[in-house]
Amino acid sequence: MASEEHIIDLKHVSKRFGDKTVLDDINLYIRKGEFVTLLGPSGCGKTTTLRLIGGFLAPDEGEILLDGKDISSIPPYKRPFNTVFQRYALFPHLDVYENIAFGLKLQKVPEDEIERRVKRVLKLVSMSDYEDRDVDSLSGGQQQRVAIARALVNQPKILLLDEPLAALDLKMRQDMQIELKEMHKKLGITFIYVTHDQEEALTLSDTIVVMNEGKIQQIGTPIDIYNEPVNCFVADFIGESNILKGKMLRDRRVAFIKHEFDCVDEGFGEMTPVDVVVRPEDIYFTTDPAKCQFKATVNSCTFKGVHYEMWVDTDTGYELMIQDYDPYPVGAEVMLYIDPDDIQVMRKERTRNVMDGKMVDETHVEMIGGVFECLPQEGIAPGDDVRVTVRFEKVDLEDHQEEGVVAGEVHFLLYKGDHYHLTILTEDGYHVWVDTNDIWDKGDLVGITIAPEDLLIEKKNEA
């Protein structure tokens, strides 16, 4: 139903609040009639993007085009969009009918037409007979419907929805998802939907835009995003996944968990470090030794309703999550295999920490907002700009921030089968990546230290 014609274009859009960059060079187009979902954790910039489109915020850089024309300077009340707000924002001093008629009255639509359109839209959201009700007397779900009706009655070109279902309970949310999807089909207008709920995004959208830290991570159909995540963040955020360190041996052959597998990916080069994603439902049990690719021991088994969720320890010392309709008892030795199609290989975003620094004296280097001790460096004078490389597993984390050279906070963590890969955000806003066997939680405050011998220092070229 979505045509090729773009209705909205965001070009190099950036937005800062104070010195915090909330959107960093966003490029995005939305096709006419499409159901697009902006998906990401809180603080990823999805709501800011929606507010920029709605006109409640102005971009610091870049432009927003509607049908090819820049609308950056057009105030919200002149934009042909309507919004369903997170907490509905129904006017408490007006009843249901007056709330819905609010926009039409401003446009000076004749009274009889207002009545006709309000009645029609109330029918659409199954709220006929509620016209005279006080909005405060409605349940959350009913308020939600009125909010949708109030937006739709103005026949907007685009309907903007800001986490509209977040306040509803699970069952109601699922029902409303189906209704929203049907409304979208029936009306044929463009929906731009913001949510942090990946399941909701997968259910509703034609296109999902996954965002994190003010940047677009991936744009694609729900199936693309689920089956072919482009990086660890997307793989981790959408659904359950086993994310593992691997090495591309050659085209169509990848090694991970110390076993070799056939896969369908090409063009990574030979012996290239990669990340591998295997969905828990894509690891199969077998009793046929010929099919078996590796063996494992069942470590735990939990009933999850439709399926069982099992954690297994492989014969090579990795932990994997498996989902299957049949349970295997804890302690059972099992044979497993993975289809080549189900192995998603991703280029590594980085293989080690690379930081810019400056030599303080012969045995000290200043970087990421702290001064680290290093081995005596030959040929580098104090004051020289240097590039410092540190392997992920060589960064040490201390329980107390003051014990580290630099203080930071665990910002993001991934379990990679036999170790954790952490992203630490330092107090000065630098990112440091760490591989560790210790268990940390998101938000833990840590101190960063690095042993002098683990700092690899090179002088930067003068140019």
Binding site: F85, Q86, F91, P92
Partner: protein, 254 residues
Amino acid sequence: MKRSHWSIPYVVFMAIFVVLPLVLVMVYAFQDGTGHFTLANITRFFTDADALTTFAVSLEIAIENTLICILLGYPAAWILANKDLNRSAITIILFIMPMWINALMRTLATAEIFNMLGIRLGKGTLLFGMVYDYLPFMIYPIYNVLAKMDKSYQEAAQDLGATPWKVFWKVTVPLSMPGVWSGVLMVFMPTVSTFAISEFLTNNKIKLFGTIIQENINSSMWNYGAALAFFMLIIIGITTLFTGDQKEAEEALI
């Protein structure tokens, strides 16, 4: 000791200093000088042209004062509550600060300034003094409601096509009415009963209802004074009925 027992001292206090005086006012209003029941005090009021005129003048001045306070106070509260226009708490304190100084002192000082400038004391100076005294009581509850108002209502109105002007009249003003009503309660009621301001700022040229109650009681006409106070209480009671939803108006003060 039960939790509710803690309230006993307050109940006793209220009984002695609030309920008892009100009962006394009622009792005195319906008695003659010798302690016998009579309606004479009430009927006297309705035949006392002087008292009736003063009553009307008092109402008129109270209404005018309240209206001026709304006209001046609402924009002030709106500016104070608007974070784009007002970034510091200092301006709010500047508006509230006059309340820290005794009203009598301020009124006396105001009268002196008028004298110094050679402005004749009269209705104009009276209204000036009243507005000066009562404006903070109007600003504060309106500011409170506006500052706490969920911004998403204004955004929703804009989203539905309302210009900033329309947003103000169709959403901000109606939603801030509880604040206006509690401002009215706090300005109108005390102005009806005030007497010191009129004494100082008009040299007693304009008498207010509070003035004649005070005069009667000062000259030991307890029963008639009580009857007049009783009428004033009725007026105040009626005002509270007009100010709509009591609960909302009270919330505006918190």
